[in-house]
Point group: C2
Chain length 364, copies 2
């Protein structure tokens, strides 16, 4: 549920524990990353620009930050760029036990793979020095140059030495479908370090989001993003990624989940009819989904009748896989005390707000 208020509506002492699995920190400006880039890549940026060429989903409002209007920090930087202000607005205000950082800087979408790798490494160094070192409640996702499986694996190997990196961050729109083999070295590295892959809303893979070309409106890109998620899940399953990497775990971030039961039914039916095309699959597709996938809550689905939400949970049968997220500081922020439907049991509410994430990310 979108909220535009900062103030929690509940008292601290009556509130449940909260772990926020989708926080967007950001460099105050592109220059804020300069000290984490080598001279070679600083020169490259100055000479050739960012090489972020593919059109994708530009967020609306206050582009490119897509931020809550109250989230511009007093330091004059971009929303999400000031740790003190994030403490005040998010971590302290909502008494957040842990928060997982997902900086969306587009590093992995840079079309020069070596530049993408340098930028990803700079972002990870910046996250350590300016976020998780000074703030013990924060954990970070590893930014990777995901279009090159080997380079992505190398950055995972480097970062995984630090246990405060709890996840690897991808986006839903990529140059190829994520099940294809060029990405497999990245999954091998993820499994080697037992780190989940988080796939977040967005990306710029060079293709229109629909099978009939580019839509006229941003709202079509926005409504269409679950279809990008569905295509990636389909690819991961039918390419046999989970047979190849039985330990791989994937978190679906900000793509919704009301579409997931229908996808499971269709995947299973199609597999029964055409399993000879994908003989590397050993089980029904829905079995891979229930074993390998987790889901963040934001944006919480809002069916017109509360009972439909209950039906959705029943059909999914994945209550222990939901991870709460606010999406701070983005414009469609989900407040911990308002986002979840009122008719959830206290046990399920607490599991979603914190317990599932605490176990999944091994937060003490």
């Amino acid at each position: 549920m979108v909220t535009t208020t900062l103030e929690p509506k509940t008292q601290n002492r009556t509130r449940m524990a909260v772990i926020d699995c989708d926080i967007h920190n950001a460099p105050a400006s592109p220059q804020a990353l300069d000290k984490y880039l080598s001279a070679r890549w600083r020169r490259y940026q100055e000479t050739y620009g960012t090489r972020a060429q593919y059109p994708g989903t530009g967020y609306p409002r206050l582009h490119p930050s897509a931020a809550r209007s109250d989230s511009w920090p007093p330091n004059g930087g971009r929303p999400g760029s000031d740790l003190d202000f994030m403490r005040e607005q998010l971590l302290d205000a909502w008494d957040i036990e842990y928060g997982v950082l997902n900086p969306l800087y587009g590093a992995g979408g840079r079309v020069n793979p070596d530049y993408a790798a340098a930028l990803a490494q700079a972002l990870n160094r910046w996250q350590v020095a300016e976020w998780i070192d000074p703030e013990p409640r924060l954990r970070a996702s590893i930014i990777v140059p995901y279009e090159d499986g080997e380079l992505a694996a190398a950055e995972i190997d480097r970062c995984a030495q630090d246990p405060r990196f709890v996840q690897i961050l991808l986006v839903a729109r990529t140059q190829e479908l994520l099940g294809r083999r060029k990405y497999w070295p990245m999954y091998e590295a993820a499994v080697r370090h037992d780190l989940p892959i988080g796939m977040h809303f967005g990306g710029t893979g060079g293709w229109p989001i629909t099978g009939s070309g580019w839509p006229s409106f941003y709202i079509e890109d926005h409504v269409g993003m679950p279809q990008a998620f569905q295509a990636q899940i389909t690819s991961w399953i039918y390419e046999g990624v989970f047979e190849q990497f039985p330990g791989l775990k994937i978190v679906l971030i900000e793509g919704g989940f009301a579409w997931l039961p229908a996808l499971m039914w269709r995947l299973d039916r199609s597999w029964r009819l055409m399993k000879d095309e994908v003989p590397h699959l050993k089980r029904p597709p829905s079995a891979y989904i229930r074993e390998h996938f987790w889901i963040t809550t934001q944006p919480v689905e809002e069916p017109p009748q509360p009972v439909y939400f209950q039906q959705l949970l029943e059909q999914l049968d994945m209550n222990d896989r939901f991870l709460f997220a606010t999406d701070y500081p983005h414009w469609d922020f989900d407040a911990p005390d308002q986002a979840l439907p009122a008719n959830l049991s206290p046990e399920l509410r607490q599991a979603i707000l914190a317990d599932n994430a605490r176990a999944f990310y091994r937060l003490s």
Copy 2:
């Protein structure tokens, strides 16, 4: 539900009335259309080929007919090409009251618009002469060169003089999203003659079906087709097509429907948040869906629990909009006495099997 048997499992006298809203008749060979084409276009075909250039979704098995293995007629032609055999296997065997023909010949996807128009007209003349003239139980869909709105409108105007044309046939994968203005003259003609648009599985618009490029397997194209449907519905709504053409009616054919509640929720939520981008919309997107859309049943969704099907019907609230279809002679044929879930009431079963379609297509 897929069945590979021809024989009805129920006695004729105990069976309910059946109207089949998706039958695929086909020319026995490309030459079978020659007498309906002018010399100019026969020469064109011989010289330049079919000009069907874009890769799309090639059906599996017995390509290009994708037919039931028992449906090859004794005349040696393609499945669906022999009226007598169709009478025997489908119309008589299942005591079909009316059947709606949807020949999938790809005419509208030919990239030379004048050739597409000539081929569409030839198919329509062939349907009249060889199908609906000799068989009073059959009705036909108008084949149109849909990538050119004006040419499509002209063919609609020509065919609509014959009331046995009950629908205009499009496919789900097109060169542009179907809400865009180049298609509007076609919708204007549809409304002028009060003819619904049927959008069928398939097509070849030149774009990959996913937002991340071409999938490796046919099964991914097959699973992805509902996403093509979702993108087209989104486009029709957000482009304001239903405000422009309040009388427009659309039938979703062979794309499934379990994904539709989730799409309605997301469309409505996104519209509440971003309605300023599409100020031409006057109502929530789900209101346009419930007013302007109908759905054929084949392939009937197969959730793992029957109660989930009931939940789906409840969430959709469109019971009077379901139209039964067998998809004869395609490989995933739905048998009238087996396809629908057992726990439907007799009234709803009869409405879906025949009554809804009889009223919708104005069959006497």
